[in-house]
């Protein structure tokens, strides 16, 4: 027997969650939104009404809740073909009206286009690769291909998208929190290995900006998966207060030639010639322009930029990313530092005094970090992550003195998965 107390703006999300988890009729007691800013007196009034609702709902609930949720089947129904306008403009209106997209023009997912894409995997079209939170939609190979076609992906991109679905579906990625939060959580797709060159995924100048087909469409296809398979409809289920432009597309490759250390996928146990994708729950990209010539000086500026109190990383112990420009990576390398040395120095130098978090945010930090740091007082020095290894460093971009700090969404851990190619695969270009 269970009941949820829900603030009114979250009713839609609450209902969708219950349905996705197999308990569509779980009772809800509603309270006003926003709730967290109410005074103590207001809270007493809210509690009085809520207590009566709880008493009524717990005793009158009829058919409620799943006692046992059926396991997700290994295969799912095939996608349905429907009649839609042949005119591209009218077709897009048809899709927009049904909220089947991201607001940009889509390419028609016809049977022929999807079949062309499916030739680039040996997996069956109805195989469930992952379930995508919060709607727990079945990301079958076919549904993944449909999103790829809509986003404009070339057919040979499919194995990358399948690996991306596996990564976002992994439990440690905690997609649920990324998809339904008020935070502006985007999913950054990072490609490693030779496939980046075969598919022409940009790792150099402007790699996070416009102008490259693979970067634009791969990142967009992942977003369409999160929308159409995960059900994260903006405003209703995706509760982001503002969101961010990176939620349209956010994809690049690592600049492995510009990296004096091991690239990310090798650091994570894959061979140098393996092809991988890594998904990262990214809250934004903080540009750091640093022309200083000394490694210590540049590192100090990065550590200083990482420190901001309104950060999930400090609140709960995060797993942030630093994108070093090749220039800065070489600077650190020439100083004799390993990648771990840089992580350790950043971890030490980016600690913040707990009192920089104010009011209830201080309380949240004290609760969130207690298990790791013990009782937290105003003068406790709080590290950005539990340990230095939790900071990830990659190299990307072209010439210039700009590196990027990428804070991450609460409790998400980036996930790397291997891209499995068919014989000939992406290298042959289809």
């Amino acid at each position: 027997m269970a009941l949820t107390v829900v603030s009114q703006s979250f009713i839609g999300l609450g209902r969708a969650q219950q349905k996705a988890l197999g308990s569509p009729d779980l009772p809800m007691a509603l309270i006003p939104h926003p709730f967290g800013t109410r005074s103590r007196v207001e809270l007493k009034d809210i509690a009085a009404k809520c207590a009566d609702d709880i008493a009524r709902l717990l005793c009158e609930a009829a058919l409620i809740g799943a006692t046992k949720v059926a396991a997700v089947a290994p295969v799912a129904p095939r996608a349905r073909l429907i009649e839609a306008p042949a005119d591209l403009e009218e077709l897009n209106k048809f899709y927009i009206k049904r909220r089947w997209g991201d607001g940009l023009i889509i390419a028609p997912p016809t049977r022929e286009a999807v079949e062309r894409m499916l030739r680039h995997t040996n997996r069956e079209p109805d195989e469930v690769v992952a379930t995508i939170a919060p709607g727990m939609g079945a990301a079958t190979v076919e549904y993944i291909a449909i999103q790829g076609v809509m986003a404009g992906c070339y057919p040979e991109y499919l194995p990358v998208l399948i690996a991306a679905a596996e990564a976002v579906g992994a439990s440690q990625f905690h997609l649920q929190a990324i998809q339904a939060t008020t935070n502006p959580s985007a999913v950054w797709l990072l490609v490693n290995g030779p496939i980046a060159k075969w598919l022409e995924v940009n790792s150099g100048a402007g790699c996070l900006g416009p102008g490259t087909w693979a970067n634009a469409t791969l990142g967009r296809a992942l977003r369409l998966m999160l929308l159409n398979i995960g059900g994260a409809l903006p405003g209703d289920i995706d509760k982001a207060t503002q969101g961010q432009p990176a939620k349209y597309t956010f994809c690049c490759a690592e600049n492995e030639e510009g990296n004096p250390w091991q690239p990310l996928h090798v650091e994570r146990g894959f061979s140098a010639d393996a092809n991988t994708v890594t998904t990262i729950g990214a809250l934004g990209t903080w540009s750091m322009n640093m022309t200083a010539k000394g490694a210590e000086e540049v590192l100090a500026m990065i550590a200083d930029t990482m420190q901001y109190p309104a950060s999930s990383d400090y609140m709960y112990g995060g797993a942030p990313f630093i994108i070093l420009s090749p220039q800065h990576a070489q600077l650190f390398h020439r100083a004799g530092w390993s990648k771990y040395d840089v992580k350790r120095r950043l971890w030490e130098q980016s600690k913040i005094r707990a009192s920089r978090s104010k009011g209830s945010e201080f309380e949240r930090m004290a609760t969130g970090r207690r298990a790791e740091l013990g009782e937290i007082g105003p003068d406790t020095m709080v590290p950005i992550s539990e340990k230095p290894e939790d900071i990830s460093i990659v190299v990307a971009g072209g010439a210039g003195s700009h590196s990027v700090f990428v804070p991450v969404s609460a409790h998400t851990r980036s996930v790397t998965r291997e891209i499995v190619l068919t014989e000939g695969g992406a290298k042959a270009g289809g």
Partner: protein, 96 residues
């Protein structure tokens, strides 16, 4: 050019199958209620007030509270099992 074409519907199905069972409490009096505090601002205060009201006004025997480390993390399986074993109903929270 034909006026229509065949395209795929892109929304994937959820394969979770709900299994319903009739569950409700006959009354609150004498029951033990569990609260999972989601650690959002003010929710601990609401839990405090609700606990008092459920006991004083509705005759609830006892309230057991568990506070999550953060809103976006679930309660651990061990703590959840313990809470389930000791309570007649569990109340959670969602929203801001």
């Amino acid at each position: 050019m034909p006026s229509t074409m065949q395209v795929y519907e892109p929304v994937a199905p959820c394969l979770t199958q709900p299994q319903k069972s009739r569950q409700s409490l006959d009354k609150l009096a004498g029951k033990t209620i569990g609260f999972i505090d989601n650690s959002k601002p003010n929710f601990n205060l609401l839990v405090e007030d609700l606990s008092q009201l459920l006991i004083e006004k509705h005759g609830v025997k006892a309230v057991i509270k568990q506070r999550k480390r953060s809103a976006s993390q679930g309660l651990s399986e061990a703590l959840m099992n313990e809470l389930v074993s000791k309570t007649d109903a569990i109340i959670t929270g969602s929203g801001d």
